[in-house]
Amino acid sequence: MVKTTIYIPDWLWKKFSMLVIQGKGYRKKKAVIEDLIKDYVQRNGTLPSQVVDRFEAEKDAFQDMRRELLSNQKYRGKFVAVLNNSAVDFDADKIALVKRAYKKYGYAPIYVDKVDQERRHAEILSPELRRK
């Protein structure tokens, strides 16, 4: 076990404390912080850091070129594959595009997104009970 110290603004700590007391009860702050750290590590630590870095760079590149792609009839409404900061391929069929991209460039962190005004979203609504 390690012990660490962090400095955060008073207002943030007070608000966090209030929320933990309301949601979990007293003396639960440490457990909540531990859960947050575990969750962060699980979400980010299962991928090698170089994969995450490259993927995030390709994602940022797509965001940078989004407006330009949207203004081009060729890309609008279609899926685009981004690798090395440029759009390397596009298709109306996402699966066909992904298969082609992996075949041509290997199994690399290629970012694929739809050239659309709206962001993609999904709902995973079902709450679950965990009995201890």
Partner: protein, 111 residues
């Protein structure tokens, strides 16, 4: 109990887990551990909201999924801290699922 087999569509290797059919989920969800074990590459991102209405951006991955004699290749999924696999509507909409709650029976078929 129904089991689902998940595999990387590009590389070898597979994992198994319990399956839950979730008509409230727009997308399927795999255990976070599978990302590392199956060496899945992130492919995209999607904003996901839970029952509390909070939205957050998560990464998506492609997997092959097989359960109850059905096979779905190149399925886009998200990953989360869980031991089972949630099969969402993007897969269920290809099947006919009949729930007989009174008999505690569930029938899945591909008509």
């Amino acid at each position: 109990m129904v089991e689902v087999k998940g595999s990387n569509p590009y590389l070898r290797g597979s994992e198994k887990a319990r399956v839950k059919l979730d008509t409230g989920a727009g997308m399927s969800v795999i255990p976070q551990d599978w990302v590392e074990r199956l060496r899945l590459m992130p492919l995209g991102v999607i904003d996901v909201s839970g029952f509390d209405g909070e939205w957050r951006e998560v990464r998506t991955f492609m997997v092959d999924l097989a359960f109850s004699g059905f096979r779905f290749d190149w399925v886009e999924v998200i990953a989360s801290r869980r031991d089972d696999v949630l099969i969402g509507r993007h897969i269920l909409n290809h099947l006919k699922v009949t729930l007989d709650g009174k008999s505690l029976a569930l029938n899945i078929e591909d008509p």
